[in-house]
């Protein structure tokens, strides 16, 4: 309650008033003038949202449908892109975003949400009580509803014959769960020589690199990456093993349309590789649009100032690791990623055999 209040207002000239408002006091709760504006706006926004939700549910009830809303997005038209970071997924995703009715969802990290828990934090909690434990079909049903509802809400325009390409390199640790939840979906497994991946990673995180700079300038938040080159290399190789390993697990088990794409092939003959992707995945696409997309996103069309050492677009040269990594670093990557290197790059298996 106010202890002292004084409000004075007087005219000093025609149309001009001087005023003095003075108030002092004690209060329990809000100080006068402290508004609840944002919470009212928030409550109103929620009310509108809930009204929409009720309308949708009532419509479903009238139509005799059930389950969570997934809209008109066809689960078979979801195209996952798994692998890991620095494999050229932004490039491939950008090309696949171009054709009419093809849309790319850029790194929702839904795979990281479920994969990080299932294979990491919650791995010890796989029993019947665990939220992702118990029978596969129950887990998959819940994940499926989550993914489709999220995709529908984000891209309501994707329906009918439209495709949603979900570029998920940093969510590839959850690839098996996502693929299991949407068995009819399509899958691209994009791989690249782990030594080039780590080399690119090292360049970005080193002093002056695009990742390091983004942290330095506050464009990226969170824990800054390590600065010690050996640590960057070791962590990068381990991430490759985990993320590409999970992608492979998903790829091997997936019964829907799928394709393995090597970055090196995409670089060597982009158009032919793109045609192969669409053909093997059974995706309808206008060939002229593919040609235009390939041309638009070609290396030559990236402005020169955006390319080079330390930049997001660095070399685009397979085998560049030979110049960028020290022999010790190469050995470390080869040892850590050995099972995958052997499988995907048998002819370049170790640096001793030459590249």
């Amino acid at each position: 309650m106010p202890v002292y209040r004084q409000n004075v207002l007087f005219e000093v000239a025609r149309g001009i008033k001087a005023f003095l408002n003075f108030e002092a006091g004690l209060t329990r709760g809000l100080v006068p003038g402290e508004g609840d504006g944002p919470s009212l706006a928030e409550a109103r926004r929620r009310l509108e949202d809930k009204n929409r939700q009720i309308a949708q549910l009532e419509e479903k009830l009238r139509e005799g449908r059930s389950g969570a809303a997934v809209g008109d997005l066809k689960p078979e038209n979801v195209v996952w892109m798994f692998g890991t970071a620095r494999v050229g997924s932004t490039w491939l995703g950008s090309m696949m975003d171009e054709p009419t009715d093809h849309t790319m969802w850029h790194e929702p990290l839904v795979g990281a949400l479920f994969g990080g828990f299932y294979y990491g934090r919650g791995a010890h909690r796989g029993g019947k009580h665990g939220i992702l434990g118990g029978p596969d079909d129950k887990r998959s049903r819940a994940i499926r509803a989550f993914v489709l509802a999220s995709a529908h809400e984000k891209f309501p325009e994707v329906k009918g014959d439209g495709y949603l390409v979900v570029k998920e390199p940093n969510g590839s640790n959850g690839a098996p769960l996502l693929a299991q939840a949407l068995p009819e979906s399509r899958m691209i497994f994009l791989v690249r020589d782990p030594r080039d991946v780590v080399s690119s990673n090292l360049s970005g995180k080193s002093e002056g690199g695009w990742t390091a700079e983004a942290f330095k300038r506050g464009r990226r938040k969170g824990t800054p990456p390590p600065t010690d080159p050996q640590t960057i290399v070791r962590k990068g190789a381990k991430k490759y093993l985990e993320f590409v390993g999970r992608s492979k697990e998903a790829f091997d088990a997936h019964k829907g349309p799928k394709i393995l794409v090597r970055y090196e092939e995409l670089r060597a003959d982009t158009l032919a590789t793109m045609k192969r992707i669409y053909s093997e995945l059974g995706m309808k696409v206008d060939e002229d649009e593919v040609v235009r997309a390939v041309e638009k996103h070609s290396w030559d069309n990236i402005p020169e100032e955006k390319k080079g050492e330390g930049k997001f677009y660095r070399k685009a040269t397979p085998g560049g690791w030979n110049e960028d990594l020290t022999p010790d670093q190469v050995k470390m990557v080869e040892e850590i990623t050995a099972p995958l290197l052997e499988e995907f790059y048998p002819e370049k298996q170790t640096s001793q055999t030459g590249v």
Partner: protein
């Protein structure tokens, strides 16, 4: 235009603030509103907020009804009562008593709060990204997905759940996600179960010893077998390689995060809720249980409840399951005075100070 404008407010005591407001200047036309006018506006605003909240609760009720009518879920949001707080607060005891009620069931630590909560906290730097699945601008959208995910999972887990039943979800280890879950399922009820953090840390120290129940059964030993010990995101029961002081510090920090987030969820929740102190539950179990059900608006048979409380009493736990290094350790409050060194107690008090002051004002050193 105002020549000088100043508003100062400071806290004098709990809930009591002093303020000083000075606004002076020269204007053409109307003078700016006085504080009296502002207060009136504020009162109107408060009424509008209350009205909006009531309307929201009605909508939530309608949504719950429609979801059930559609037959998609056996467990509706209104059937759920969450137990949040942190580990070693007596949540197993409380949840077991609640499970035994007529038409009641208990979901023992699904960790759905950890699934969403830990991910959400660890991706704070991504939240402004419009593509991020849990981005700020899409919050209402993903809250709906979280809601469906919980109801879907609960219905799959409890396919023959009674229409008017109560599903108690014991989620101490998932309390980090309490704000998300309560916001996604506002019709659900919430129990915030707390205990003196010093007793919790004392209990954790006992569990951290090799050969204890947690080491052998719950955490470290099992994770060792799975080759998971020491990996990123290791659970709180993974005590491998930690000194006593590290365990004390880690557990106190965890208390601050878990109970802190539970507290946030509790304060923001407009629905049915009750704050329970372990110490009260221990001192008067039946009375506290009655209070819980009363505040959660759940009808229970008093005779049944008395029988359940008795069945789960400390005296009814077999002697060989109780004691040092066991899951049922002391069943006492304030034992930290014997178990912690003065330095350890000080560390816990410093780290958990805001919650200790609020939840245990009489026990604050």
């Amino acid at each position: 235009m105002p020549l000088f404008k100043s508003r100062v407010a400071f806290q004098l005591a709990r809930n009591a603030r002093a303020f000083l407001y000075l606004d002076t200047g020269i204007v053409r036309g109307d003078a700016p509103p006085t504080l009296e006018v502002m207060e009136e506006t504020q009162a109107r605003l408060r009424e509008q907020i209350q009205e909006a909240r009531r309307a929201l609760a009605n909508r939530d009720h309608r949504i719950s009804g429609l979801e059930k009518e559609l037959g998609g879920y056996t467990v509706g949001a209104g059937n759920i009562a969450w137990i949040f707080g942190t580990v070693r607060t007596g949540s197993t005891w409380l949840a077991s008593m609640m499970r035994d009620g007529h038409n009641h069931a208990m979901w023992n630590e699904p960790r759905v709060g950890e699934l969403f909560g830990t991910f959400y906290e660890s991706t704070a730097h991504r939240r402004d990204n419009e593509n991020f699945v849990m981005g700020t601008h899409r919050k209402l959208v993903w809250l709906k997905s979280v809601r469906n995910f919980v109801l879907d999972s609960a219905s799959a887990r409890f396919p023959r759940f009674a229409r008017d039943g109560l599903l108690v979800i014991k989620e101490p280890s998932g309390s980090i996600g309490a704000p998300i879950l309560m916001e996604a399922l506002p019709e659900s009820a919430m129990v915030l179960l707390v205990r003196d953090p010093r007793d919790i840390v004392a209990s954790a120290l006992d569990a951290a010893r090799e050969g204890s129940w947690a080491y052998e059964l719950r955490g470290t030993r099992r994770r060792e077998k799975q080759g998971l010990v020491g990996t990123a995101g290791a659970p709180i029961d993974d005590f491998t390689g930690k000194s006593q002081d590290e365990v004390v510090r880690d557990q106190a920090s965890m208390y601050l995060r878990y109970v802190g987030n539970s507290r946030k969820a509790f304060d923001a929740h407009d629905g049915r809720k009750v704050l329970v102190r372990y110490e009260d539950l221990l001192a008067n179990s039946l009375g506290t249980m009655k209070r819980i059900y009363s505040e959660l608006e759940v009808e229970v048979d008093e005779e049944d409840l008395a029988r359940i409380v008795k069945e789960h009493s400390w005296e009814n736990i077999p002697e060989d399951e109780k004691g040092k290094g066991k899951f049922y350790r002391k069943g006492a409050s304030g034992a930290w005075r014997e178990d912690l060194t003065p330095d350890q107690a000080k560390v816990v008090e410093e780290i958990t100070a805001p919650l200790l002051r609020e939840l245990y004002p009489d026990e604050t050193a």
